[in-house]
Each structure stands twice: as structure tokens, then as C-alpha cells.
């Protein structure tokens, strides 16, 4: 595993740097010729014509009234997040297709078989166990976001579930409500960077991991080192543990991806838009 991370991490970083440089290029490029200016205009067109078209949003996706500053912004912050550039679309579509096949040919049949053999109750235990195990990721992210109350609650949940829930198999703390409402504790480093103000950079699809962005990829690398299962020795047991977590998680969500795919005319676009908007919402929860 160490060798793999040593190779993978720099590779991911290099890719990212290239990616963000590429994205920055697109943003800062100034049109030099009229023809270029024209093509820039058509690229900007959708949001502008939408504006002219008069579809104004009164609320954002959570029901928050949008304050329209300068009378020009009719797009919600979530819309802006969904407009994250996708300069590597062809590349991303290829991995999207790969993940699609991976799901239908491998993950789904395995998860289906698994869920017919193992009843729901034990599968929930397994899910609780892995969720409890991911505590370092949530704690670190919440601390870095300055959400100390949520971090404290998450810590007491972790201690409670580990000590009294058979090492996290049972979620004994889920019924306990907090005195004051706390922000969502389902945070990771990618969301933390976003919370700090970092843009998505660009949209990316990774094999096995699925939709992501430049920002979330950096976050994922960090999360990777905060995940206890990463440090299982030898490396193939670590991979097996993570794979088992994944299959177990999928056994609860069979049909979700199918529904999205069935309802959409361009599944790649639907998933991209959905991913970016969901992440944006999670960031602000």
C-alpha cells in the first residue's frame, strides 16, 4: 500500500496541477481576435440568454431567498457550482462509461448476491461499523471548518458507538438529539476546502471512485490518509476492506443509479449536474 500511495499521490497531484492550470487558462484567456471574441461569447451564451429569457429564481435549492445584487445575478450559488468547467469531458465520459460497466457487470451482481445472502440487519451493522471508522475524516474536517460544536458531538458519538455499540456495529447514539442544532457532521476534506472558499476547479471522473472535481480529488487524497482502513497491512487486505465497505454500501442503494440513468437523456450530464449540486448542498448543510 505504501508503495502504491507513494506512486499514486504525486501522480494525482501532478494531474491536478495540470488540470487547474488548464482551467485557469480557460478563465483568464483574453480574446485577441474578433473571431475568438465571438466564440467566447457563444460559450457564455447559456446563462446570458437565460437572463434575457427572464427565468428568475426567487429561492435557491434550500428555500433561501436570493438577494439579487446589481440586478444581474439570477443564478443561485448552486447554479454557479453546477457550471464547474469540464475541459476533459471526453476523458471523463470514458471513465463514466467504465464505471457504468463496473457497476452493472461487477458491483451490482455482487451486491445483489450479497444482499440475498445477508439480511438487512447485519448489513446495517457493517455500514455503521465503517461509518464509525471514518470518524477521523469527519472530525478533522469539522475542526478545520471551525465547527467545534459539531466536532464535539461527532466525538461523543464515536466514543459512545465504539464503547457501547460493539465497536461501532450498533449506532446507539443516533436517537440522541443535540440540545442546540448543529451543522451536518457528514463532512470531508473536499467539502472543507469548499467551505474555505475553494472552487471545484474542474469536474473529473475517476475510475472506481466516480464523479469528483479537482478540489474534491485533493480532499480525497487527504481523506485517504485519514481513513483507518488505509493502514491495514498488507495492502490487499486494506483494498479488500474498502471494497467490502463499498459493496455493502451499494447493497442499500441498488436501483438508485438505474433510476437516474433511466430518467435522463444524457446520463453523464445528469450525474455531473447532480454531483456538483449535491456537493454544494452538503458543503452548506
Amino acid at each position: 500500500m505504501h508503495l502504491m500511495t507513494r506512486i499514486l499521490a504525486p501522480a494525482a497531484l501532478v494531474l491536478l496541477l495540470c488540470g487547474s492550470a488548464f482551467a485557469a487558462n480557460i478563465e483568464t484567456a483574453t480574446p485577441t481576435t474578433p473571431a475568438q471574441a465571438e466564440s467566447m461569447k457563444t460559450e457564455l451564451a447559456p446563462s446570458q440568454t437565460l437572463l434575457a429569457y427572464g427565468d428568475e429564481d426567487i429561492w435557491d435549492e434550500n428555500g433561501q431567498l436570493i438577494k439579487r445584487t446589481h440586478g444581474a445575478k439570477t443564478e443561485t450559488p448552486g447554479d454557479l457550482a453546477a457550471q464547474t468547467p469540464d475541459p476533459l469531458e471526453g476523458w471523463n465520459r470514458m471513465w463514466f462509461g467504465f464505471n457504468d460497466k463496473l457497476y452493472f457487470w461487477a458491483l451490482k451482481p455482487v451486491a445483489q448476491g450479497y444482499s440475498t445472502v445477508i439480511p438487512e440487519r447485519p448489513r446495517i451493522w457493517v455500514r455503521n461499523f465503517f461509518h464509525n471508522l471514518m470518524y477521523p475524516v469527519r472530525f478533522t474536517s469539522l475542526m478545520l471548518q471551525g465547527k467545534f460544536d459539531a466536532a464535539a458531538v461527532e466525538t461523543s458519538r464515536f466514543i459512545g458507538n465504539t464503547a457501547f455499540g460493539l465497536g461501532g456495529l450498533a449506532d446507539v447514539t443516533s436517537d440522541n438529539k443535540t440540545f442546540r442544532p448543529i451543522p451536518s457532521t457528514e463532512q470531508d476534506l473536499g467539502l472543507t476546502f469548499g467551505y474555505w472558499g475553494a472552487d471545484n476547479g474542474m469536474y473529473l471522473v475517476w475510475p472506481f471512485l466516480g464523479p469528483s472535481s479537482a478540489r474534491d480529488t485533493v480532499g480525497y487524497v487527504g481523506d485517504h490518509f485519514l481513513t483507518p482502513t488505509t493502514y491495514i497491512h498488507p495492502w490487499y487486505w486494506s483494498v479488500a476492506a474498502k471494497g467490502y465497505d463499498k459493496v455493502n454500501a451499494i447493497s442499500f442503494r441498488i436501483g438508485d443509479y438505474e433510476a437516474v440513468k433511466e430518467a435522463s437523456l444524457d446520463p453523464y450530464e445528469a450525474v455531473r449536474d447532480g454531483y456538483l449540486r449535491m456537493r454544494f448542498k452538503k458543503m452548506n448543510d
Binding site: N62, L65, E258, A259, D273, G274
Partner: protein
């Protein structure tokens, strides 16, 4: 301590009922619509496999009473709407709403007595935003609705976990219409509906 929680609980109950009592017209309309859907979904007599079409037709009839398909389609097509001919617009509304109903009714068929909580209602002019939460076994999913006032209040957009139905389709339509003609888009939607009707598997196709 126990007393305090009791008082708090009572207070919370009062607040809940107060918000129910204060619900305005849009929320009442939405609730009536959703309740109708739930009634059909929980009707044991319609659960049999041979009653499937009947149930679907009933669900569609109910959905038609509180969804504004035209407004929804217009907003999903966005700037391309103006480029459609009036006939294409009509065709688009019919086809798109059929596609949505087909695919969403399928999702609803998994309904298992989940409870819908109405959290908040806001009205601005002729539009209303309603926050709801669907209580599942192990988690709750936020589902929000935007309604517009016609003769009655009608839903024109649904947000599931922060993802707008209209806007999700808007990006897809924009993408397709940047390459293909409106006719081709319509054909594509019709093919999709036909594939769903024939019970074709989504597994084999990536492009859609």
C-alpha cells in the same frame, strides 16, 4: 430533567400543530396532491401485478392535477424554448411530462409508508416554496417544491437533496440541442419512453 424534556416536547408539538394550522393555500394544495398519491400507493387492491397499468394511470391523473407540466417544460428547455415552433412546444410538453411520469412513477412504486413532513412554506407574489422531508427508515431526504399560481397552485420544480429537476434536465437539453435539432431531441425522448414501455434494460446502454 425529565420534566424539562416533557415541556420541551409539548412545546415542540404546539409548534408543529401551529405550523400545520398556519399552512397557506399552496402547501394545502401540495399536501392534498401528495396525500392522493400516497392513497393510491398504499391501496392494497392496486398492488397486484395485473393492476399495474391501472395504478400508473391513476397516479398520472393525480400528478396532472398539481403539476404545471408546461411551466416545468418551458423552464427546462430554457433559452431553447423560443426556438421551438408552437407545435414542437406542445409536443415537447407532452413527451417530457410523459417521460417524467414514467420514470418517477417507477420510483414511487417502491413506496413503503414513508412519512412526509411539511417543514416550511414561503410565498412571494405568485410563487411559493415549500420545504418537505421524507422520513425513510434510516434517514430523511429533503424534498422541496416550487409552485406557481395559475387558477390553482401548481408545482413546477422539485428539489431532491439540492438537485433541481428542472435544472438537471436543462443542462441535458442544452447539451443535446447544442448539437441536434429539436426534432431529434423529441425523437430521442420518444425512443426512451418506448424503451421503458418495452421494459428494456438500462444496463446495456451508456449514452442513453
Amino acid at each position: 430533567m425529565k420534566k424539562l424534556t416533557n415541556i420541551l416536547g409539548a412545546l415542540a408539538l404546539v409548534v408543529c400543530f401551529a405550523s400545520v394550522a398556519l399552512a397557506g393555500e399552496p402547501q394545502d394544495r401540495l399536501k392534498a396532491g401528495i396525500d392522493n398519491v400516497i392513497t393510491i400507493l398504499s391501496d392494497a387492491g392496486l398492488k397486484a401485478a395485473n393492476k399495474r397499468t391501472e395504478r400508473q394511470n391513476k397516479l398520472r391523473a393525480v400528478a396532472d392535477t398539481f403539476f404545471d407540466w408546461r411551466e416545468l417544460s418551458r423552464r427546462a428547455a430554457a433559452e431553447n424554448w423560443a426556438k421551438f415552433s408552437p407545435k414542437q412546444q406542445e409536443d415537447f410538453v407532452t413527451t417530457f411530462s410523459e417521460l417524467l411520469q414514467k420514470t418517477y412513477i417507477r420510483k414511487l412504486e417502491k413506496y413503503n409508508n414513508e412519512k412526509v413532513n411539511y417543514l416550511k412554506e414561503q410565498i412571494e407574489g405568485d410563487q411559493a416554496f415549500i420545504n418537505t422531508q421524507v422520513q425513510m427508515k434510516d434517514k430523511s431526504i429533503p424534498i422541496n417544491y416550487i409552485m406557481i399560481k395559475r387558477e390553482k397552485w401548481l408545482v413546477y420544480d422539485v428539489f431532491v437533496e439540492g438537485v433541481s429537476l428542472v435544472k438537471n434536465y436543462r443542462t441535458q437539453f442544452a447539451k443535446i440541442l447544442s448539437k441536434d435539432s429539436p426534432e431529434e431531441l423529441l425523437q430521442r425522448m420518444k425512443d426512451k419512453i418506448k424503451a421503458i414501455d418495452n421494459g428494456q434494460n438500462v444496463d446495456d446502454k451508456v449514452g442513453g
